[in-house]
């Protein structure tokens, strides 16, 4: 028999098995779907939080305010020296005039604060962006230490504490997702293994007959393993569907509030790879559950 014919036979047996024990199959599928729904929700939240973090990271710049005593030519020379510091990706020189213009155009009516002033009080500054690998507390501290040795810099400004705090929150959610995911996966495996074991018990006669006519281990086991995989795939697709509906509902109900919550980063759902990973995770849970069920049965038989 060709491999294709064998696979077809195993698939037909698996589908027949699912139909023969609809309740246990539904319980296994629903358990996998519920597990993936919870884990998927965490992963979705995490993915969006990481997008926010990435955006803040891009905007994490150190501002070096230059002394008013320096001439524009000297500003250029300081900027050039800063560009030479290790870990610096980009340096933008903001002149006194540009700073004033930016201040006037900024929201919240700040322009009124400048009324009555004869001279421009704002200093020229350098906006320094680090390379992505250095966009963290240690990177900022190294830069600050290097800048402190340069003449002409009056003051430094950087908001890395906030970003660090957010990164810690992301780390916490990541850890939580991993922990909850592991516990849920284990609980799901136990439930799935036991429901599949029940399904196998329900078809004990069939197993016995197959063995009596000379079915080998693979012939007997493959349909059950396929059953687990099919339950996992269906569970994964169900979870994906519910997550997609929930995501769409959240966007409609919360509107711009969701984007505000995410720091004006557009909320994103799983891409094709993420969706595939969720379904594959379901299939893996089903497969491992089936393997565990068969292993439990073998142990019980001694």
């Amino acid at each position: 028999m060709s491999a294709r014919a064998q696979a077809r036979l195993a698939l037909v047996s698996a589908l027949r098995g699912l139909a023969a024990t609809p309740l246990t199959s539904a319980v296994a599928t629903a358990t996998i779907a519920l597990c993936l729904l919870l884990v998927g929700s965490f992963v979705l939240l995490l993915t969006n939080m990481e997008r926010v973090l990435a955006r803040f990271g891009e905007e994490l710049a150190v501002s070096a305010y230059l002394s008013d005593e320096l001439t524009p030519a000297e500003h250029e020379r300081v900027a050039e020296r800063v560009r030479g510091i290790a870990g610096v990706e980009n340096v933008r020189l903001v002149s006194k005039e540009a700073a004033l213009e930016r201040f006037r155009e900024s929201p919240f009516g700040r322009a009124s604060l400048l009324e009555g002033l004869d001279a421009n009080p704002l200093p020229a500054s350098l906006e320094i962006v680090l390379v992505p690998a250095e966009r963290n507390k240690e990177g900022v501290e190294k830069l600050v230490a290097a800048l402190a040795e340069l003449p002409g810099i009056a003051e430094l400004g950087y908001g890395h504490e906030w970003v660090e705090g957010y990164a810690r929150a992301v780390g916490l959610v990541r850890g939580l997702a991993a922990g909850i995911g592991a516990v849920l996966a284990l609980a799901t495996l136990l439930i799935v293994a036991n429901t599949i074991r029940l399904a196998i018990y329900a078809r004990q006669d069939e197993l016995e007959i197959l063995q009596l006519v000379g079915a080998g281990r693979a012939f007997v086991a493959t349909p059950y393993l396929l059953e687990g995989v099919l339950e996992g795939v269906i569970g994964g697709l169900l979870a994906l569907g519910v997550l997609a509906l929930g995501f769409r509902a959240a966007r409609v109900l919360l509107g711009g509030g969701l984007e505000l919550l995410l720091g004006y980063v557009e909320p994103a759902f799983f891409g094709p790879l993420g969706a595939l990973a969720l379904v594959v995770a379901g299939a893996s849970l089903g497969l491992v559950g089936s393997l565990a069920a068969m292993s439990m049965l073998r142990s019980a038989r001694g």
Binding site: M1, A5, D205, L210, Q211, L212, A215, G216, R217
Partner: protein
């Protein structure tokens, strides 16, 4: 091992270690399910290609144990069993599966797959052998025709009468052209007409070269079809008679 009483023998060679052509050979086989409680005790016999042997004896005499040993559902506690050249006591799970593909077994309770069609019940014996779908279909149809069930092939076993279920079980046992056919009370619950129908099929398999081993309480059957009669009592083989029919 304690020496056993030699069974009463009729025409033909002595059972036991002799004879090179035996498809089934038992050498001083004993089987105990519990320590000291023997279901089978010191049985030696040989079954040749195309031979039709009946094993008789009261309930609990060891007939079923003897058959279970032959299709490797049990291992002997003592002695050796060679079935189709394989030592049953030393076979692993894969070896047992391979051996069973060469053996047809008919059970008193039929052991049919009730959720499958008649066609699938017969076809499953070919599926485990990896027979391609087209050949499977042809062989199953031919086998069902042989037992007169081709018109029932799309039905489920529970819609068949007792006699039809028995014929179906026999069709499954014979579809892979087994070298050995083991039948445990294959006509136990059938009326006389169906009994003869089933036995004719079994006898025709023996005529084609299959070694056949039938357990029965029906002495009339043994008289009508038997070429060899084995009798078990209390787990011991007390009679092994070749009836000398052509």
């Amino acid at each position: 091992m304690a020496s056993a009483a030699r069974p009463r023998t009729g025409q033909g060679p002595e059972p036991g270690l002799g004879g090179a052509g035996g498809l089934v050979r038992l050498y001083h086989v004993s089987k105990a399910y519990l320590a000291g409680s023997w279901a089978l005790r010191d049985v030696s016999l040989e079954l040749a290609k195309g031979e039709l042997a009946f094993v008789t004896g009261p309930s609990g005499a060891g007939k079923s144990t003897l058959m279970r040993l032959m299709f490797a559902a049990e291992r002997p506690s003592e002695g050796q069993i060679l079935v189709l050249g394989r030592n049953v006591g030393r076979l692993g799970p894969a070896g047992v599966a391979k051996l069973r593909r060469r053996i047809g077994v008919v059970f008193q309770d039929f052991k049919l797959l009730h959720r499958r069609t008649v066609e699938d019940n017969v076809g499953v014996a070919l599926d485990v052998m990896g027979v391609p779908p087209r050949e499977r279909k042809a062989r199953v149809f031919a086998m069902l025709k042989r037992v007169g069930l081709q018109h029932r092939r799309h039905q489920q076993p529970l819609t068949l009468s007792g006699g039809e279920q028995q014929r179906l079980a026999l069709a499954r046992a014979l579809v892979n052209d087994p070298e050995l056919l083991i039948a445990d009370e294959p006509t136990g619950n059938l009326d006389p007409e169906l009994t003869l129908e089933i036995m004719d099929l079994i006898a025709s398999s023996a005529a084609r070269g299959t070694a056949v081993f039938v357990a029965t309480h029906d002495h009339a059957l043994v008289e009508r079809y038997g070429k060899r009669r084995l009798r078990l009592e209390g787990g011991r083989l007390v009679e092994d008679v070749r009836l000398g029919r052509p």
